[in-house]
Each structure stands twice: as structure tokens, then as C-alpha cells.
Symmetry: C2
Subunit: 334 residues, 2 copies
Amino acid sequence: MSSDLPLPAYADIEAAAQRIEAATIRTPLLENPRVNDRLGGRLLIKAEPLQRTGSFKFRGAYNFISQLSPDQRRAGIVAWSSGNHAQGVAEAARLLGTPATIVMPIDAPAIKVANTRASGAHVVTYDRIKDDREAIARGLAEREGRTAIPPYDHPWIIAGQGTIGPEIVDQAQSAGASLDAVIAPCSGGGLSSGIATAVKAISPGTQCFAAEPAGFDDLARSLATGTIQRNERLVGSFCDALLAPCPGNYTFALARKNLDGSLVATDDEVAGAMELAFREFKLVVEPGGAVGLACVLNGALPIQGRTVCVVCSGGNVDGEVFRAALATAARRTA
Amino acid sequence: MSSDLPLPAYADIEAAAQRIEAATIRTPLLENPRVNDRLGGRLLIKAEPLQRTGSFKFRGAYNFISQLSPDQRRAGIVAWSSGNHAQGVAEAARLLGTPATIVMPIDAPAIKVANTRASGAHVVTYDRIKDDREAIARGLAEREGRTAIPPYDHPWIIAGQGTIGPEIVDQAQSAGASLDAVIAPCSGGGLSSGIATAVKAISPGTQCFAAEPAGFDDLARSLATGTIQRNERLVGSFCDALLAPCPGNYTFALARKNLDGSLVATDDEVAGAMELAFREFKLVVEPGGAVGLACVLNGALPIQGRTVCVVCSGGNVDGEVFRAALATAARRTA
């Protein structure tokens, strides 16, 4: 179904913004003068952990399901996800009265599985290494007449996630800031390509970057080679939300057009970013949600004398993992 | 100087709101449908950890210093505080170009001392048990011609903290909620009495409560007896920000007039509230900032079938303490 649709443009993101406005939270843009002093630039944090379901994924999910026909909504939807898309889809489905089945990896964070169930979704688990989650989900969709909601490679999903772009530009303007660069975490690329598509349309002088975990830099390598590259491993990053095997067709096409590059941070740098978000912004950020911030703190994206907006994309992290990240960061600075 | 001023009224809070508007953050009112379902009521969280300096104290400090004469501002200010008032005063002084000296307990959280210094203030330490911090500060003020800024018992401070009240009522209205009750943490009572004064003026049907740590319930006992009661101990609560020895004269007079009571929670219940704020609201709340939430979760303030706004008043907590709180909460629910 998605193959017929053209690449999403800024007008699609504007339409998505109207569609989701009443159901979503206009998350705040946080700033801390002390941090700015230390960095020698202006750091703005778009706080998507405060979004409904604790991550940006609710935006795309709600934009998608609200475009289904009454018949499609009655028949239900199915999605596959390591956790945040699962929660976003489950909650959007609940609000829009659609039965949801979600295919999740057996090692997904407990908090993400519990929350998906709490929104009333039926959860089916799979093994990240042995099973093909998309095949399981598409099989279910076919057998039960459900609509499959892909996690990133669909124009409706990308347009939904892209709604963060105009919010950032508008909020930065209200704060008297002119944006030199925006950076957002990247797994399959729905968030980063959606935001870049919006930002380049409204503020063409602003650079747009994706951020990936070291060793899972499929987008960086895809942009470098001009063809879609896969990650060698499918497990093993601290950033559980950023383990998509490769960019999608839609997201890669948009990334080539609108992204200025994809930057990389290590797991330890991500833990340091989570600690900074905790200490200076009082915000809980999950590992995958902090990789953009890590790319500013490790110098991959220079901030000195500039204004940089970092999207912190989610905050669904188990207490044990969060405690370990704070402990890691404390050891590094001790 | 403060003894000449009348009790602050709603008009003073309105004036304070105008005075501080450009310098403060209108912190968001957070809500989570899943939490509401579980509680059987509507829980709104006023997220003051996202305030400048990480707590509500900036409001009162900025309202106070901005009313000083040019001569007084040049001569500088002095304040005594376990940490959040210190940071609020230091940052407000920096913004308004006033030299600041802050008297802090030697066992104040490291993060609070470091942040106070980072705002350019001179820090003088004291011993909570042996020394009289107010005497040290007032001595300094006299010797150096500085203005002393009390942590809570002054109409300008109370009016500044009270600005949270109209924000809550306005934001609740925007969210389609009619407030049955508001609860705010209480140490000396500036926050809770200020908010209650505003809320009772705008929304007389809304109940207003203070929240105190068990064993440090000086306000609850003062309200019960009709005279100011002191805490037996000055140290030993997990809630480092809530250790004032007794209500102030202004704050107690306002509390008697406008508060419907003061509720109590144990340290373990506070740790549980910090964990809920972490898990469901992605918000870092310090122990003293979470005692109002703890009073909802422990049933002291009933929420079933009602709408309750909880002020989470600050988020300045050391990583080690936060990790310990999450671990305590995990043990309790295991």
C-alpha cells in the first residue's frame, strides 16, 4: 500500500500537524544558561520524553491511524517494534478505537512491553536474531485483515514524526534563537528525515543531522556510499530503540535530499548525555533518545558560538538501566 | 524590614507574576492517561524541576531582588538556604546584576552547592546542628550593608512562589479539568501558603494542602494546635529541602487562612513517588519535591473520582541519591 504514495513534502507535515494537534503534547524546548556557558553556545533540548507514551512515536502512529477508513479501523491494525513505536501505536489505536496487535522482541525493555499492554494492545513476541518481525506482522495482517503500520518507512509515519520540525523552529523563534543546526536520533530514519524535510522547508539555512550509535551507523554509511547499507549486527548497542537494520526507501531518499549528515556517538558518550539530561535538564532520556545530545557533547556536532537544537526523542528506560547509565557517567567523570 | 509589610494578598501575587514573567519558565502541567486509569482520578503534575535553577525558588528570589532599589542592588544580597533557595537567589542576583553571598549547610547536596557557585555567588558554609544560619547571614548583612533575603517568611518571597497558583488554574482549565485539590511540598511554607492564597482567590472551591515528611510535620501540628510548633529534629529526613524548623509568621498566618490541612508521607513513600515521576512522567524530582505526590499515592489525599494537581517543586538531586531512591522503590514493589 505504501509503495504508491509519493515522498512526503512539507505540506504533508503541515497537514499531519493539524491532524494530531489535539491529541499530542507540544513538548517544551528546554534551555539551561549554565550549560550554555560551559559549551560556549546555545543548546536547546526538544523534550519528547514528555510526549504522550514517552516518545515521539505517538505522532506518526496517530497521524497514520487517523487516516484509515472506518472499515480499516474496525478490522484493526498490527505493528512491529522494539518498544516506542509499539507504545505509540497502541495508545493511538486505543484513542481512535482500533484493535491493535503488536509484535515485539522478547528482549524489549520491560517498561515498553508493560505500557503497550496497558494501552490495551495484544502483544506477540519474537527473537531479534532468529525471527523476521516484519514477516510475522505482515502474516498476521493478511490472515486477520488488519492494516500493518510500519515503524518508519511510510509517508504518513514520516510526516507525523516531522511535525516536531515546525514546533522546534517556532519555539526557537519565540526564545529569540536562530537555529544553526538540528540533530535527531536515527534508527530507521523516520524522525530525522521527517524533521529535516520540515526544517529545510521553513529554515533553509539550518543544518540538519541524524545521530546514530557507534557500530550501528547504517545511515552514515548509506549517505557516504549513496546506496542503502545494512548494520552488521542487529543486537549489542546500549541504544535499544536504534537497532533497525538499515534505512528505509522513503527515509533514505529524504535523508539524501535534506540531511547534512549522520553523526555517531559511543555507548559511554550516550550514558554521559543521559546523565547531563538528568542533572541539568531534569529530564529522563532513554539511551536511544540521548544519542543526538551525545553527538553535541562529544564534539561531532560543533556548538561553540552557535545555536543547536537537540531532539531527545524518548524516555522509556527501565530503572535499572537508568541507574547503570548514571553510574557509568559518574565513573567516567570521577 | 519585613515586619512592616502586610500579609500578601492575591493582588501581590498577580503583580509578582508580571514582574517575573519574562525571566521564568511557565512550567508544563503533565498528565498521563495510564496513571489516571490506575488511580481512578485525574492527576496533574506541575513540573517545577523544569523551572530555571531546577526549582520553584527562583520565582520568589527574582520577585524579591527586582523590588530592591538601585543602591540596595549595588550593595548586594545575602541568603541562607539548604540549596534550592540558594540557587534561585544566586541566579536571580546574577540576572539582575547584584553581588550574592549564600550561607549553606556543610551537608547540602553537592549539586546544589556547585550550581550556586556556578551562578557566581560566594558560598559560606555552616553546621546544621551547631550553627544558627540566620544569625550568620544577618550578621553578614549588617557588616556588609547587604539585604538579607529570607527563604520563606517574607511577603515578596511568598508572592513569588504563589505565582504557581494562577498558572495551575489556567493550565488546568486549558486541559478541561476542574481542580478539586492542589497539594504542594512544605518546608517553611512559602510555596504552599503562596499557592493556596492564589488558588483560594481564583477558585474558592478548590482544596489546598501542604505536604510534609513524616517526623517533620511542624505545619500539620501548628495548624492542629493553632500556634507555631517546631520540629523535634533538624536533620534526618530524606527530604533535604524540607528541614525548616517551623512555619514562619507570615506563612503560618496565610496557612491558617487558606490551607485545608497539611498531609504527611514517609521517606519510603517519597522514594516511590520519585520512581513514579521517573517512570511515568520522565521527570527528575528530588526527595523534597516529591512529597506532595507521595501524599496522593499513599492515600492521604484521596484522588478517586477527583482531579488533583500536585506541585513537584524541584529536581536538584545528586545522581547517587536518585539511584538509591529508584533502588528503594524497586525493592518495595518486588
